[in-house]
Symmetry: C2
Subunit: 208 residues, 2 copies
Amino acid sequence: MSSTLDLIRKRISANKFDRNRPLSQAEIRELVEFATQAPSSFNIQHARFVAVTRAADKERLKAVAYGQQKVADAAVTFVVLGDLRGHEKLPGILARSVQAGILDAKTADSWVGMANGMYANAELARDEAIRSASLAAMTLMVAAEAKGLVSGPMIGFDPEGVKRELGISDRYVPVMLLPVGHPAPGNWPRKPRLPVDEVLAFDRGREF
Amino acid sequence: MSSTLDLIRKRISANKFDRNRPLSQAEIRELVEFATQAPSSFNIQHARFVAVTRAADKERLKAVAYGQQKVADAAVTFVVLGDLRGHEKLPGILARSVQAGILDAKTADSWVGMANGMYANAELARDEAIRSASLAAMTLMVAAEAKGLVSGPMIGFDPEGVKRELGISDRYVPVMLLPVGHPAPGNWPRKPRLPVDEVLAFDRGREF
């Protein structure tokens, strides 16, 4: 088994998936369970997942994703969503932490007040939905890799078309499509990354 | 050494950091190198990192982060930025893939055209900067965990104040503060997560 650091270095964004190796619903549920472990603002957990597995539905999704074949070939293509009203669920979420003795009720109330104040701003609510769903998606990709699977995150799709085809309401922003499955031959090698010195500064910002 | 899947399940967002265990610049650079391995749209790599390590600078940052002590206690607090004009660097980035024989020049040109078309839209450019920087930040958190460190992602800060105090231009959107270091006693236990059935649907969207 590869170490975590090896997995991070070796991961590729896959385009070619083995059409003949499906994943069970239990395997798909397990991947999402790992994704839910990602951190989020106040533990709101904005990420939602539509796991598209049926051939006919994958074709409908492919049609609103510029015909990209990986959507149809992958065992599952997740539509990763961010809940624009995630903070509305915070009282119930924090009640579980209070019950577990992790948080006191007064702190929980103050967090709800802070979250309601912040996310009344629609831009901040959208930023947070995207950020939170992205953290969850990356966690899902790492978990998939650890299980010998590959993934190919995609932003090349028509978000309104995806919502229409799959019956997703305007409450949710589609943050990415994420095909996951076993690899087929012919994937890209890893693409070169920017050297650390081009992306890192110490103590003061600069023009990178 | 824990397995990757164990690391994902055990990770906590830390508030308490050991003030007496600094990280070297080499260790900080290595964490950022892992972060650069994250995927991004067209491989644009929008994420940038200001590693705040000096005591005086951490205090300045803490003052624009509602006085949260972890900013000052962590060995390093990263300001994770997203480049709102990341796509402008795409021709140079893809040239490296063309030189490496991974991509042909015609495909590279078409990607540049597509990216310029998409990210002329300011909302899409902002979404992408946040998404890409979040994927990199999650990768950094996983790498830190694998190296026995803890992290505490934060969105509770004044973004304009952070930019002003550290000399960060409007080209970059602060996506999160990310304190990283060795843990001190007194961290929260893991907070409960939503059950999979509350965040996952198969083949069709629904109200979650």
